[in-house]
Symmetry: C2
Subunit: 368 residues, 2 copies
């Protein structure tokens, strides 16, 4: 029943795991309260602080769930019903919208700043929106996985702070793949996942609260996502939940790989594979949806050529070439493919393999 053959994961995530990370999954188990485990968790907290480039005094840890659980933890500890907190949700795609939903579920008054899917938010529009009402929070997705767009967090944060709003940033698809600097940019809350830029399997999701955010925490309604309880486990070694040893080992090892490579070289590697892909697609007459100034390096929204059956192409890549790419979401369903070249999968060889297979898959799909 379990797969026996490898598949090249070039979708929106999970990205491929390295052999080293895969082996780490099977290291001898330790319980969640074992001294060995606690030493590893201390290390993971420090690794995450460095990889987020979190400011001094930030609290960093990993939520025992996927990226969406970290999104919920971010909101659930900053917003509560009855608190009358107001949020401006910048929605540049599916995940910006998910953040707006999460804010609403947790009782914030939410105004949406909508942006056309495929474009980045214009900081001037943020400034204008923040001038129309008083907001406690701005939420924004750094790397919008649904559109392949990079939003200018570094420009948005000072605008929000000038208006007294904290900034919650979704870095699910950016951490470890494209430049991100919590401290330099002044991000107040930032969360991510393990299975994209970092190159671990999913299931354990990094989150960082800057001191500015820790000061404004609310009593969390959720038990599982309560930062007070999470930190009592991660820091004070008090039982809260049974963290998954294989996932801890994998995340720790993936973070080791990130730091051995250095963040800068890792970002460069993602840029290089992006450029290679764009040039190769251009030679095939294919285009990337977002304007070049706003393109992610690691998640490429590739326009489906006219007349091509996009689902049939994905199926042909999957079954005949053992390559996974992703479909479009929401208004971009049927209009784009989402090609993730990230983590340990961001190699020139993988791009070449996809560029070789794609024309063949399009031909197969045309005759299907």
């Amino acid at each position: 029943m379990l797969p026996t053959d490898d598949r090249l994961l070039l979708g929106p995530g999970p990205s491929p795991v390295s052999d080293r990370v895969r082996v780490a999954l099977g290291a001898p188990a330790r319980s969640h309260l074992d001294p060995d485990m606690m030493a590893i968790l201390d290390n993971v907290r420090a690794q995450l602080a460095r990889v987020f480039r979190a400011p001094a005094g930030a609290m960093t840890l990993a939520v025992s769930g996927t990226g969406t659980s970290a999104m919920e933890a971010a909101i659930a500890n900053m917003v509560a019903p009855g608190s009358n907190l107001r949020a401006l949700a910048i929605v540049t795609g599916y995940f910006g919208d998910r953040l707006a939903q999460m804010l609403t579920r947790y009782g914030a008054q939410v105004d949406v700043l909508p942006v056309e899917w495929g474009k980045a938010v214009d900081p001037a529009d943020v400034e204008r929106a923040l001038g129309q009402a008083s907001y406690d929070f701005v939420t924004v997705v750094h790397a919008e996985t649904s559109t392949g767009v990079r939003n200018p967090i570094d420009l948005i944060t000072p605008i929000a702070h000038a208006k007294g709003a904290l900034v919650i940033v979704d870095a699910v698809t950016s951490l470890g793949a494209i430049p991100l600097d919590m401290a330099a940019w002044g991000v107040d809350v930032c969360y991510s996942c393990s299975q994209k830029g970092l190159g671990a399997p999913s299931g354990l999701s990094p989150i960082a609260f800057a001191p500015s955010a820790l000061l404004k925490r609310v009593a969390c309604r959720s038990f599982y996502f309560d930062l007070a309880l999470l930190s009592s486990f991660w820091i004070d070694r008090k039982y809260h939940h049974t963290i998954s040893a294989p996932l801890v080992y994998a995340l720790h090892t993936a973070l080791e790989e990130v730091e051995e490579e250095t963040l800068e070289r890792r970002w460069d590697r993602h840029e290089a594979t992006h450029v290679q892909l764009v040039m190769g697609l251009d030679a095939l007459g294919m285009r990337i949806l977002p304007p070049s100034s706003a393109r992610l390096w690691n998640l490429n929204a590739v326009e489906v050529p006219a007349g091509v059956n996009e689902a049939a192409v994905r199926a042909a890549l999957l079954t005949q070439h053992q390559i996974e790419i992703g479909a479009g979401l929401g208004p971009l369903a049927g209009r784009i493919w989402r090609v993730g070249i990230m983590g340990s999968g961001a190699t020139s060889a993988n791009v070449t393999r996809l560029l070789d297979a794609l024309p063949a898959a399009i031909k197969t799909a045309a005759h299907a």
Copy 2:
């Protein structure tokens, strides 16, 4: 940094994983929407329905988090603020109390039926409590991990149903280790974990909603735990979160092992190792806390002998014998050890190894 030597996990969980489960973690990755993954998830749903002995029409799946996340999912889909729902929380220990906290956080009006730690609830007390007010829910822990007590779910459920209350059962420490039969007992909502009786690592937690519970679902405030969204992923193959492939592989494989052994023989095996442990402890002059009628087979609350430094004994077992056992929680801290003999760890050889090491560790602790 990662452990290289094996440790025998005889605490309250995680239990040891078999080689087969460990190997499954490293099987070739598939994304959360891959057809191969969907086929495995279909299988896991069916496996869980059988292992829970869920009634026809039940919804079974696994929450992407630990047992506490499944507890929160159970409550978050049945209780909402403003619904004026009333719950009777039977509290026989730490996890019964956690359920009461969860109910309160999600807006239920909660009355607690407290039971002395180390004893099972008396069904007559449940009947009396249910006669004093009208309740929508009764919550109860089947296997109270903090005390080693088994509560008589089969007797409680008909009493609750006669009064019009649904029964939410925590089976975190019972599923796969001691008899549990949702359908025969009439359990309405049941949840568990992967890392105890089932023998997988933690991080993916089984849950089952009987049709009686599905009829009474509320709009879930949480996004991550929303059953409507979870089932849209598990059943309708719509993206909700990126389920962790290694954890799915491990749980699927562990459930295969459970069913190959058969539940009945697995229960018998846990009973046999329990009896062996109790007899061995008796020979050492040591006793189990709960009365014999209410003892769990897989989680043994062992009274710390007078004058023994319990923490030093655990430390000696850990460092000199590579055996983990658990400490007491709450009012039983310092008074008991929690010895879990479960999952693939429930073998005669493991019990013998512990019984051999324990006197030596007590001697070491006395001289420390």
